[in-house]
């Protein structure tokens, strides 16, 4: 990185921390620290919700996903606007009316303490583990591509986040989020414009889209129903809606963002703003990945984008074989570039037969170079047993470092850091709030004054330290990381089921919901262990199982001899 890049990166991160500290000053009560003073406007809530959801890996992985698999990943977000509307009608008014600080307080009012604690503890487990990965995954990519120490990366992100999050609480997090979103949007927008600009001069934007589409990278909608296919229209609309309902309705890292609204209208509009922005935003990030894919149709990409395992092959006995594959790959890619040029020329000529022929040749050439690439990856796997053969997360940043101009590289890396910081701050702030409100305040009976601010700071600090420690440990987890990544879907369905039962199944009482949730969670874990069902469906399965079991248990209870009448809660 050049000095200008360092200046941009350092300046951006310093600004985020100082802005968060400045705007978050003055919390004197637990409510002010955890609830952010409940004076946030809709746009601040909306930005904060988007920033919490947007992690650094979103920016590293999403363009890479489009490069490798096309744009169908956007379907994952189709449930979000539906969930935003459902929550605006149902849960948000309820949260406001009960003036709760965490989502789980509602469950004690409706059921009992043990159901509230079960949901709070499920949240603390899954979110506590996930926050470690939030900072580990981008730190790993940055450390490999930039040669920075993984430990320094984790320590830097964790320390910067804790400075303003521990000090200022929810208000500091929300205002820091607004500045992070500006950096993220600016970095990604400029990267997209520059990528389109760096295509060969005779390749227009429309030509680029035709090349990407011809090679199957613009396959946005897949309407074919297949429960084992992770990203299609139906998994996005059905499974995605349940996931988003659970995430935005019952995950404290999101609930805390809109509970900071000055009134019901501001909270609703904040969540709906997210519902409107997220799908187009993900589409644009994926389109950026598709443009990077087109860029590499006219420039030779590395055979494998993660340089770490390549270095290990080159240091071992397979170095000569790998070099030979690299040479073959470079030759195939040169041929592919010529085919891409011919396809663009044919499109300019407008000759339909020529277009069809050159497109067929381009597809054939692409398939050949992919086959050679697979040979190289197989050699990498042979030389590094246990290495991850998937280099998707490295594609975008490798492209940025090698092809974008000085200054913009610093801005994109600042956007990656901002993504990492924004999600970590929202998450540790929520973990701290749940620890204080649902455990400390409820079980120990603490006051809401200045003392609670300090308890909140200690809890947030402790979760920040836990996240950094888990991120350090994650380096040794290997393939288990993927299991931890889908952890959310293993628990979200059950938590959502408890909330839906609370809201809609009036006959169910406290103990019944608790035991139904335990049985449903065991069922979801069995599905995960013994079936190949895509993880998005666990949200639906867990949710339906809790509601169904709670209803069945309460029915059985009311029909058993000696049972009294069941009255609606």
């Amino acid at each position: 990185m050049s000095r200008l890049d360092w200046f941009v990166l350092g300046g951006a991160l310093l600004f985020v921390v100082l802005w968060g500290l400045y705007k978050g000053r003055g919390a004197t009560t637990g409510e002010g620290y955890i609830g952010g003073g409940r004076d946030h406007r809709w746009w601040l809530i909306g930005l904060s919700i988007i920033a919490t959801q947007t992690s650094a890996i979103t920016f590293l992985s999403t363009p890479g996903q489009a490069y490798v698999d096309g744009m169908r990943f956007v379907q994952f977000y189709f449930g979000l606007p539906i969930a935003a509307v459902v929550l605006s009608v149902t849960l948000i008014p309820l949260y406001h009316r009960l003036k709760v600080s965490t989502a789980y307080e509602l469950l004690e009012a409706r059921f009992d303490l043990k159901t509230r604690l079960l949901a709070a503890i499920l949240f603390l487990i899954q979110r506590g583990l996930a926050v470690g990965l939030t900072i580990f995954a981008p730190a790993l990519v940055l450390s490999v591509l930039l040669g920075w120490s993984l430990h320094v990366n984790i320590l830097l992100v964790g320390t910067l986040v804790m400075i303003y999050t521990v000090t200022g609480g929810t208000k500091a997090v929300a205002w820091a989020h607004s500045s992070q979103m500006v950096i993220i949007a600016g970095g990604m927008l400029l990267a997209g414009v520059m990528t389109a600009h760096r295509l060969p001069s005779h390749v227009s934007f429309s030509d680029a889209l035709h090349v990407a589409g011809g090679l199957g990278r613009l396959n946005v909608i897949d309407a074919h129903f297949d429960p084992n296919n992770r990203y299609n229209l139906w998994s996005g609309l059905i499974g995605g809606t349940f996931l988003m309902l659970s995430y935005f309705g019952t995950d404290q890292s999101q609930v805390q963002r809109y509970l900071a609204g000055s009134d019901l209208t501001q909270s609703r509009l904040g969540l709906l703003l997210n519902g409107m922005i997220k799908v187009p935003m993900q589409f644009l990030i994926l389109l950026l990945g598709a443009l990077v894919f087109v860029f590499y149709q006219f420039h030779t990409p590395p055979l494998f984008f993660n340089p770490g395992p390549v270095k290990q092959v080159m240091a071992g006995p397979d170095a000569a074989a790998y070099r030979a594959i690299e040479t073959k790959f470079a030759r195939a890619r040169t041929d592919q570039s010529l085919r891409a040029e011919a396809y663009v020329s044919a499109r300019h000529s407008g000759d339909a037969a020529e277009i069809a022929l050159t497109k067929h040749q381009l597809l054939q050439s692409h398939a050949e170079s992919e086959a050679i690439r697979r040979e190289g990856v197989a050699l990498i796997e042979k030389a590094n047993p246990g290495t991850n053969p998937n280099d998707t997360n490295y594609i975008f940043l490798a492209y940025v470092l090698s092809s974008l101009p000085v200054g913009l590289v610093g801005l994109v890396i600042a956007a990656v850091f901002s993504g990492s910081m924004s999600s970590m701050s929202g998450e540790i702030s929520a973990l701290g709030a749940t620890t204080v409100v649902d455990l400390w305040r409820r079980l120990i009976g603490g006051s809401q004054g200045q003392r609670e601010v300090w308890v909140g700071r200690i809890a947030t600090f402790a979760w920040g330290c836990f996240a950094m420690a888990f991120a350090e440990y994650a380096a040794r987890l290997g393939s288990l990381i993927e299991a931890v990544n889908i952890l959310g879907s293993l628990f979200y369905g059950t938590i959502l089921g408890i909330f839906i039962t609370a809201f809609y199944v009036k006959r169910v009482r406290g103990g019944t919901a608790f035991y139904a949730a335990i049985v449903a969670e065991i069922g979801v874990l069995l599905c995960f262990t013994f079936t190949s069902i895509s993880f998005l469906w666990y949200n639906l399965i867990g949710c339906v199982a809790v509601v169904g079991l709670a209803w069945a248990f309460s029915l059985a209870q009311s029909q058993s001899p000696g049972a009294g009448p069941v009255s609606p809660a």
Binding site: I221, L269, F283
Partner: protein, 44 residues
């Protein structure tokens, strides 16, 4: 407690009613799906 009591709510600052706001949000999703389908078809 009863958790299903209707909530007194303010009017949204735009469009006059919450139903219209929700229709805009869901309409945008539908429009996105249709445009994405068209986009995939146009550049396939």
């Amino acid at each position: 407690m009863t958790v299903t009591e209707p909530e007194k709510e303010g009017m949204p600052p735009l469009l006059g009613s919450w139903k219209r706001v929700y229709a805009v949000v869901l309409g945008e999703l539908l429009l996105c799906i249709l445009l994405f389908r068209l986009f995939s078809w146009a550049y396939s």
